[in-house]
Symmetry: C2
Subunit: 497 residues, 2 copies
């Protein structure tokens, strides 16, 4: 009986993973190579396949199989796997199909309206549909009949275990310590980074990426490939098939490099989850914050350091002698770490980034607890930016309309970006107790660092939640002070504060 | 009633096309970019999706829907569409599932054995499994209970309407006229083509392809893209999404170009079938011979001509001044048309190619009519090559083991390659009555040629069979003499016979 149920469950997981693979490959193709002309044909058929997958996922017979399995004596891994899937599917099953369909239509429409509003630089175009999306999200969450507050449920969806109480504590510390630090940095002697923004031939950038950076990172073509796209992302087809994408900018020599280091961080997570978890929720269900902790660890805590560039700068200088011949590696590293309040989140630096997130968190919280409304939300947005970062968007395009997330109903997702960075700081602290990170970076033994991450973090996937992994890897619960200490120390030194 | 049945039929076609699209995109990806490490994971899931598609395709309820529809008063297009699908699916349905599964396993095994035998250059390794594949093919075809001879059925599968009788008549003419012609060419003063085989920087070849050849052909990135692969192919995802692939060889400056012109010929066929046929069997069910007629028309009848190169050679010469500065366009065109008996089909030239096919046709026919056995088939192979082409393979690797087709049970497919070339000759004859092909090629108005092909051939897809299209496009039935006249005239002139 138990064996049969297990077999049925595993076959169902395999089936789901087949559709997931197809949809992922279709998605990667669409965002990299696919000719635009075929979009309508492909989209119609992709929607059909997504519907097929949805039917398999929400199959009521499998709900029963899982219920029966949970009543059996099964091993802890399998129990956790079933529970994670149950949670995910339960949230879909409680929503009446018509509500789900109309929500999908609404967000598709909202995306178009957002796009139009952004181009017109006019928030009032977007406001009515944003209001509708929020109302529809509330309706969907109401179906869950949970005793938890609505925004807490949203936060938990993206980062299991997180609540407003915990995020409040986190962001309070961020606000307290970063706002004054950023003010000091802004008033200090500014760092010259103009040489980063000269014209850098894209073909040469690519050649440098393939010859120097990817091999340094150990990103191997037998299990991963890199392609170009408009908005860089990573897709984990399976552990030995990781698709990383990047975008080369002619007027920025580090953008593609650091973005690639970031994406390779996501890639290693997918590559290094224990092989027996491949194709299961233990790999594809990793929380946003945990995934972001690994990409940001590679990007910021490794990729922006002097030792990283002591290994890689000479070849960059050789590739671009004209632009970089008079720039020392120390000057270069200072320039790629400039901290300066700005308007657009995706272009923000490591120091000011968490405040962009803080602002979004406060607004989302207000929207769902009823203290903020969508009306005049552009003004609220601008007030927050002035208060925390001292900058003001000339139009809503660089203001409230900059992010796509809300049009898609993604509320509760933004905070995980900041959480990820904070997780990384604590992981780095623990890693530095075990291995000489700087020396490894300097001497090109990047794989030893990856080994540490695999051993303490990656291999578990989401077999354990973020809190459990944090305790196992660092010996203590999550503590944001490691993050704030790191930023304070780094920027105090950088700006001679 | 009729309306409902039609709706059901069309929805079923859409469903099938969704799986077909997914499998095509997965296949293209596998052959171009996919990291090798993920192959096992992907293959297992791809097989599952193929199984899903198979179940939908062979759905017995749909057999009934089609039967009922054929009894209704439906338009001629729909009737033809249903009949074509019926024929294809009937051939699957008559085979017991176990037989089909064991056949699939056998051919997968045979592929591995063929690969091993080829590397070991030893036909005796391959012989036992080839024998089994032939026996299994016979069993499968026996299920059809057709009164036609078995090899006729195989021929008809790849080129509807073709039989041994028709192919015999065709190949008799080929043998009669080409064997002596090739002998004369072999004895004539040889043409120097050594300059084609110097080192040609691959990066520059790519740059020339993208800057000169693809734009000249009108291959537009809005509906197609080109990528690299090991064995070039074209995949038609839909009319506005055509994937063409190529392979660049450092020591051959025309290989990638002419291979691309060939694949673009397939691509235009897929692109130009009437829009209302997109996603139906009218596009994906086009016969091998007809498809090959279009790729070879572009490659040989256009891409190997002086006017084509009058338009494109100057830029090639500029790209490779060192190698080509002393080579005139006339010398260049003579060199890319050298006719010389050789051992390997895929590397054969336009003149000797049909004899490679003739040999395979005679062997296949013998195997299925019982006059030839697999035992010592390598010797039979060598005898044919000596007799028709005057060459002998040093080992079975360049002999009987060169082609993958038989390991996969593809019998009856080879003849379509020669048929395609012969179809092209007759199409070209008709086209030259309507438009000034040479002047259009010379002046870069390639689109006018494509317009002619669309108007007379492409737009129909397989709404009509090859014979019907031939009559409509050229005003007479297929006549192989156009092909043989063309070769005789071309090579007589080229070699001053």
């Amino acid at each position: 009986m138990k064996e049969e149920l297990l077999k049925e469950f595993d076959e169902w997981v395999l089936k789901l993973s087949a559709y997931q693979m197809a949809l992922s490959l279709i998605g990667v193709d669409k965002q990299t190579l696919a000719p635009q002309g075929g979009a309508a044909y492909r989209d119609e058929r992709t929607a059909y396949l997504a519907g097929e997958m949805f039917s398999i996922e929400t199959d009521l017979h499998m709900v029963e199989v899982r219920r029966q399995l949970l009543a059996e004596d099964i091993d802890a891994d399998k129990r956790r796997e079933i529970e994670l899937m149950d949670k995910e599917i339960e949230h879909i099953l409680v929503v009446p199909k018509e509500m789900f369909v109309s929500y999908t239509k609404l967000t598709a429409e909202a995306y178009e309206v957002w796009h139009r509003a952004k181009n017109a630089e006019d928030y009032t175009i977007f406001e009515p549909v944003l209001k509708k999306v929020i109302e529809a999200s509330k309706q969907m969450y109401a179906c869950r009949n949970s005793s938890a507050s609505m925004y807490d449920q949203m936060l938990d969806d993206y980062e299991p275990g997180m609540t407003m109480e915990k995020y409040d504590a986190f962001f309070d510390r961020v606000r307290e310590r970063l706002v004054p630090l950023i003010r000091k940095v802004t008033e200090a002697q500014q760092i010259d980074d103009s040489f980063l923004k000269q014209p850098y031939d894209v073909q040469k950038q690519k050649e440098y990426m393939n010859r120097v950076i990817l091999p340094y990172l150990g990103f191997d073509s037998s299990w991963g490939y890199q392609n170009e796209t408009e908005h860089p992302f990573t897709d984990i087809i399976c552990e030995n098939d990781i698709r990383v994408t990047t975008k080369y900018l002619e007027n920025n020599v580090v953008s593609a490099i650091l973005s690639t280091v970031h994406e390779v961080g996501h890639g290693y997570y997918g590559h290094d989850v224990a092989p027996e978890y491949d194709g299961t929720i233990f790999n594809y269900g990793i929380s946003s914050g945990m995934h972001e902790s690994q990409s940001r660890l590679l990007e910021n805590y490794l990729g922006r350091t002097l030792p990283f560039w002591e290994a890689n700068y000479p070849a960059l200088q050789e590739t671009f002698p004209e632009q970089l011949k008079d720039v020392t590696v120390e000057q270069f590293v200072r320039a790629i770490n400039v901290g300066k309040p700005s308007l657009v989140r995706t272009e923000a630096d490591e120091l000011t980034y968490p405040l962009h997130i803080l602002i979004r968190y406060e607004i989302e919280k207000g929207l769902f607890t009823g203290t903020i409304s969508t009306e005049n939300l552009d003004r609220t947005w601008d007030e927050y930016y002035e208060k925390y970062l001292g900058v003001k968007a000339p139009t809503a395009r660089q203001g409230i309309l900059q992010d796509v997330h809300w049009s898609g109903g993604s509320f509760g997702y933004f905070p995980t970006y900041a959480l990820g960075s904070a997780f990384s700081a604590q992981f780095m602290k623990a890693m530095r107790c075990d291995i000489d990170v700087d020396e490894l970076l300097r001497s090109g033994r990047f794989s030893v660092i990856i080994d540490w991450l695999r051993e303490h973090i990656h291999r578990y996937g989401c077999r354990y939640n973020a809190d459990e992994i944090m305790r196992m890897a660092t010996g203590e619960p999550f503590n944001p002070d490691y993050y704030l200490d790191y930023l304070e120390e780094k920027y105090t030194k950088l700006y001679h504060l």
